[in-house]
Symmetry: C2
Subunit: 240 residues, 2 copies
DNA sequence: TAGTTTTGTTATGTCATACATAATACATCA
DNA sequence: TGATGTATTATGTATGACATAACAAAACTA
């Protein structure tokens, strides 16, 4: 009996005014199918239409702005923008704040991406790309002297691979994840380097890109990243 | 002469007060290496320390809040939270707003992920998972009757694969991308279905999961997604 | 008349103050 | 003691004022 009464109260709307206005505005964007560049109503108009103070309107607009949905210009008002989805994310990508489990998962995603990219790389790669890769590899520090491998160089090589896919979003994604990788490498989150047993070197990967197939490349990349995998698995076992 | 003078003025920082305060706060989070749950200074304290109005402080805090970096409670103040990075992103994941190029790129990322996942799936998959997949496949509509293939069913099957990886972040990522896929499928963004030539069916994938290897699975998945690839490539050619 | 400067208008950015509201700690009373 | 009311505190909302940038129209000069 009492439970029923209580349950009737659980639907109390807990959201703040700003939440509602925000939802309202987002809905406006979605339903009206507004295009990039379209302007949305002025603050004052919204104040009158929605019946709340300018403070509330402004905070709601501020949210859309930080989400990259709109951009505000003096005099002109607020216009819809094509959000840089990962740009927003990158601000919250603070390795110090993300918990370790998430960090590890993000690291996994990187590995997944690089193996899965093979098809697109082969589809898009040009002669110039291969030459550029060769150039990068040429300047590669010897594996013997890089016990803790040269992370800058890693980024350069693998970054180029992302570039070749021609997928800007994916490239942005990688750039965003870089601080994470850096952090994960420097932290104790991964097992310390086993031995540096890269069955397939960067040079080997380039060779395959030149003469091989996506299938070969996937397996080679899998091998190349063997260390990372091994370390991830081990630390997972330590945790679990 | 005049040019020099002018040039001296070009370094005027264009950022608003809020921008500066925001940067200040983010830096605070990063440098002080604050942990989740730590409280940050009260609004009033920040007003006094930084010498700006509460309005500015509040908007900066609002930004951190929408980025999921902090959470504000009455009386208690603002505490640092572990941000749900993809949760934030999903709000700006409005297919109507994202431009077509980005949409296509996101779709590509999906394909890349699913091919690259193979290793993790094999590493984590259990007997129960396989049984569950079999169950899903059993209820599969016949491919003959699903000219435009059953998207709900696709999501169910592929979603389960994401789940098996045990990578919650990746799963979240997928969930976030679903509206995009839905939209891309229903839009004219992809070539209309060629013929439904799936060399490898869902059932075939399950068989491989049970008896095959990651390498086999990757190739099978590549094949399975052949339609998507073909359509992406074609529409890319149309554009380019 | 063409081109430049000035002025005015408009919408966002910032400030200040007051009050509302929720959460907590403290005091009060049965 | 333990439930209940009350004070305090920090965020939430409202309002009014002024600052500033962008743009447009008017005014002015060559």
């Amino acid at each position: 009996m009492v439970d029923n009464i209580i349950n009737n109260f659980t639907t109390v709307d807990n959201s703040s005014l700003v939440d509602k206005v925000e939802a309202n505005l987002v809905e406006l964007l979605q339903n009206r199918k507004l295009k990039v560049g379209d302007v949305i109503p002025k603050e004052i108009e919204l104040v009158e239409t929605l019946g709340v103070s300018r403070t509330v309107i402004r905070e709601a607009l501020a949210r859309l702005r930080t989400m990259g949905l709109i951009e505000s210009k003096k005099k002109k008002g607020s216009v819809i923008t094509s959000p840089d989805i990962f740009g927003i994310m990158s601000k919250s990508m603070n390795p110090h704040i993300l918990d370790q489990e998430t960090l590890k998962e993000i690291f996994e995603i990187r590995l997944v991406l690089e193996i899965g990219m093979a098809d697109f790389i082969f589809q898009k790669i040009t002669k110039e790309d291969i030459n550029e890769l060769k150039e990068i590899v040429k300047n590669e520090p010897l594996s013997s002297e890089s016990h803790l491998f040269n992370i800058d160089h890693e980024i350069k090589f693998h970054g180029k691979l992302y570039e070749i896919t021609g997928n800007k979003t994916m490239k942005t994604f990688q750039r965003m994840l870089l601080p994470i990788f850096d952090y994960v490498h420097n932290s104790g989150l991964l097992q310390k380097q086993l031995e540096q047993k890269k069955f397939v070197s960067h040079k080997g990967l380039v060779d395959i890109l030149e003469n091989g197939s996506p299938e070969l490349f996937r397996n080679a990349m899998r091998n190349h990243l063997e260390n990372h995998f091994a370390r991830l698995i081990m630390s997972a076992e330590n945790v679990g």
